[in-house]
Amino acid sequence: MVSPSITHKADRRKGGTPPDPVSVRRAVIRYGPARWVALTALIVVLVGAAVALLDAFNSERRMREQIFRTNEVMFVLNEVVRSVLDAESGRRGYLLTGDESYLVPFETNRTRMPLLLDRLAAAMASAEQMERQHRLAVLHEKKLAALEKAVALAKASRAEEARESFDTDETKRYFDALRAVIDDLRHEEASALRARAAHAAAIERRTIYILAVLGLIGLALVLAVMSLAWRAAHLEAEAADMEALREARARSDLLAKELNHRVKNLFSVILSIISMSARHETDVRNLTRKIRDRVHALASAHAVSQGQADRSLVSLADLIEATLAPYAREGPYLQVSGPDVNLQVAAITPLGLILHELATNAAKYGAWSREHGVVELAWHVHRASIGGLTDEEETVDIVWKERGGPPVSEPSDMGFGTRMVKNAIGQLKGQTIMKWAESGLSVSIRIPLPKWKIQ
């Protein structure tokens, strides 16, 4: 239930300048470039990490391949050397002893060499290396041919010639050339492996750096996101505070409006009291006293809710005590009894005026006009089901009963007091029964209680 003026103010705050600082700062967080920068950075970090790792794996794989190839080349070359040496020493043995079993390694070499040369060719990495492999094959062929020549001479029992042919520089020259080619290949392979290892190490170092940098960026991102989240939470809390402040202001605005309304209404009532009091009074003293007493009763009744302007309920006992205080004499002249009952603030004016009229009437014409007259004021709460099972209406029944006064009788015409009481009961949405008995006036008032209660 927001009053129009508050809505109006709120609209003005939202629509005009300066704009609401909270919503502006929220907008910065929501739509600022920071999130795009963060998102781009995150993508760069992820892609960078993937590329660096892929590069490192690739380099490792290539080094592994190089190691296998180098191993293969080294192994094959060793086998070649061994095979050639075996063939040569076999041939020497044959030449020295004539035992044909020495020729077995020689034959082995003849069958094995093409296989070794094929394996070597498969492991060659460049045209230059293929050239070397080819030279190796040619030199081996020539060497083998020379050895075969010597063996053939030996077989033809031309031992001297055979030894001579063996001792010529030719076979030694071929063998040296063969070794030279093999050494070249070995060096090449070794340096290729070293180069590959160095490259892999470099890549590895680079990868470590890249991952370290990316890790730092990731950490920065996490921190940035955390700080954003913290700021968002902070602003959220700030907004909640402002909302609470706004609500408090709206409440106090509403309260001020309500008070303003109440004051205006009270002034209206006071004007009416003055007009109505003046209607049947010609004596200025009497008139002044009547007005003063009525306004005072009104003020006393309203004092019950004073200091708690936002209170919407007042205690019936408090209201009675405040209004009837001027008439409370020592002794049993006023007997008040009843349970704790709360009434709406709107009941203060009519009930206060009713009680005042009843009291002044009692003092002038009723029980309190005699020395031992007593007024009993008692109330109790009455519950009645209205319609449905859950719909229960609570009313309070207030009984004003005078005794010990002069006999009273119903007036022939409604005076101010009677009309006022009837109207005030109407204002309270209540009902009333007035009895003018020999023993004194009795007034029963039934008024509905507010549906909601206060603890």
Partner: protein, 143 residues
């Protein structure tokens, strides 16, 4: 007080010679609906209207009663309190407006703009107002 009788001799009757200047002349015999939930104000307005020779319809202290009176009774003009214990009087105003019956608002809710927006021809008397001024405003709208 309760036993006091209402004395009709207090009615303010205009001097016969000066009838044209009597400000409430138009209220003589007019049927005025009074919707007001403050008992003291009801008394004062009722008495003042009776003094001016008008016939009071009501007085109504709640919305239901007021709607009933608008439906059942012949009315020449109306005094409407805006807030009847939390209920707005506007349904009554709507029906009067539809029937072409003039009315004025008598309210302590001075700043309520919707009073004028919807019923721009209805005067707004702000509480607290002297009852004579209220009746002068009323006389101004009585046909």
């Amino acid at each position: 007080m309760l036993l006091n009788t209402h004395d009709p001799s207090h009615r303010r009757v205009p001097p016969q010679s000066d009838i044209a200047q009597w400000p409430y002349a138009k209220l003589e015999g007019a049927r005025i609906l009074v919707v007001e939930d403050e008992a003291m104000l009801v008394l004062e307005i009722e008495s003042a209207l009776e003094d001016a020779g008008a016939e009071v319809v009501g007085p109504c202290m709640n919305l239901r009663q007021a709607l009933q009176e608008v439906q059942d009774r012949e009315i020449d003009a109306a005094i409407l309190d805006v807030n009847l214990h939390g209920e707005d009087v506007f349904p009554v105003a709507e029906r009067l407006f539809t029937r072409g019956i003039p009315f004025l608002f008598h309210t302590a809710h001075g700043e309520r703009m919707e009073l004028r927006a919807r019923f721009e021809n209805a005067p707004v008397c702000r509480k607290p107002i002297l009852v004579e001024d209220l009746l002068t405003e009323l006389a101004g709208i009585v046909p």
